[in-house]
Symmetry: C2
Subunit: 233 residues, 2 copies
Amino acid sequence: MQETLDDAAAVDDALSLPDHIASRIRTMAIKGELSPGQRLSEVRLAGDLGVSRNTLREAFRLLTRERLVHHQPNRGVFVAVPTMAAILDIYRVRRMIEVPALARAWHRHEAVSTMRACVVSSQAARDRHDWQGVGSANMGFHSAIVALADSPRLNGFYRQVAAELRLAFGLLDDPEQLHEPFIAQNAAILAAIDRGDCEAAAGILAVYLDHSERTVLTAFARIEHGAGPAPGL
Amino acid sequence: MQETLDDAAAVDDALSLPDHIASRIRTMAIKGELSPGQRLSEVRLAGDLGVSRNTLREAFRLLTRERLVHHQPNRGVFVAVPTMAAILDIYRVRRMIEVPALARAWHRHEAVSTMRACVVSSQAARDRHDWQGVGSANMGFHSAIVALADSPRLNGFYRQVAAELRLAFGLLDDPEQLHEPFIAQNAAILAAIDRGDCEAAAGILAVYLDHSERTVLTAFARIEHGAGPAPGL
DNA sequence: GTCCCCCGCATTGTTCAACAAAAAATATTT
DNA sequence: AAATATTTTTTGTTGAACAATGCGGGGGAC
């Protein structure tokens, strides 16, 4: 929310400037302020963000590696356009990571309290019709599931993939259809964990992922065929 | 100042210069030309590689994200020092990715021929006592296993993790102990795939990973306690 | 009118020089 | 010798500069 103040805004001391800039661009992309396929001019964006071209280029390299942005040599960088293949791949990865993490979880892991907090926060966000907030809380819930595995590398990888998925979400029109039905399921997963039945929790999660994937894919197919099938690239 | 540009497919026109520089540093780290914990001076390395500081910094950002290098703000970047925790995490990730990929493989996937080529190449390398080559072929074999899953994201993630593991390998003294016993097992995995028995292949792989992990961990423990644990970092 | 080539223009790719800020190293004082 | 002040080195970031590449437009040729 405070991103409108450019320079004097809250500066993350821990993060270096290029990381911070990358983070801002990531947020813009997730919030839908950048349309997929759009070209990101170096001079323009550098000016808008108040940094030099070199710094912006470092941020671009990060985002390219995260697949949030696509780099064509000597042509520039473009906001990634989500594909059906990408969505399928992302859900495959999610299944491969989340389900075993939940199935083999220790039911008193600290991440469980994060999960609980996310469930509460998603319900609150729903009550005030803040669908963006519901989405964030939902994503936080699933990040916490991955955190159950105690693997820094898996956590980092999942964060990337989740960001890419949220970019795809931005294309869809009705965000409530997307996340609302899953709040209850998240609570059910949490309840299963609480009573120590990780297998049941993993089962619910698997169903959740199937359901979510189908929802996203159908919505996406509707967009792809209905609305403009996008500029050539 | 183009010094020896021969080693292993040096010039990649498709890649941008920072990517290329990152790749060279990565190769140096894997080959053991960079010792873990060593500080990488920007001016010095930029001069050695014949690029500007800015370009080198872009490469550093890539490598930092890959965990091959560690960045301390206002202090510089250091070659990552492998930890026991890191090795444990890497093998956990490998198990999570490789075993399902193999178990659910289609036995006529194009990656199978890559696997075959790697087996042949590793045997040839062993015959000429080229342990570096054996290591490369072995890693190629396992990358091909991951490729069976047809997931670009998984492939990319695995490539990172594999590079990190090879950095850890560089610390160990006797490379033949590391890879030699596994050439035969790779061949066995391939044979199982060829006769369509993916479950058996996955079983051999799981045993392989346990065995490999134990070997690396014990060698690593010997190093850590025996040789100087030295740099306080 | 359509096609093609050539030329100018905008953008990216890369380097260099400069300076602020932080850390490390050194000298100075007590 | 310890603590502090000062110098030096290194990183962090910027701005300008220039080559190289891609894009679009205009002018001929048919």
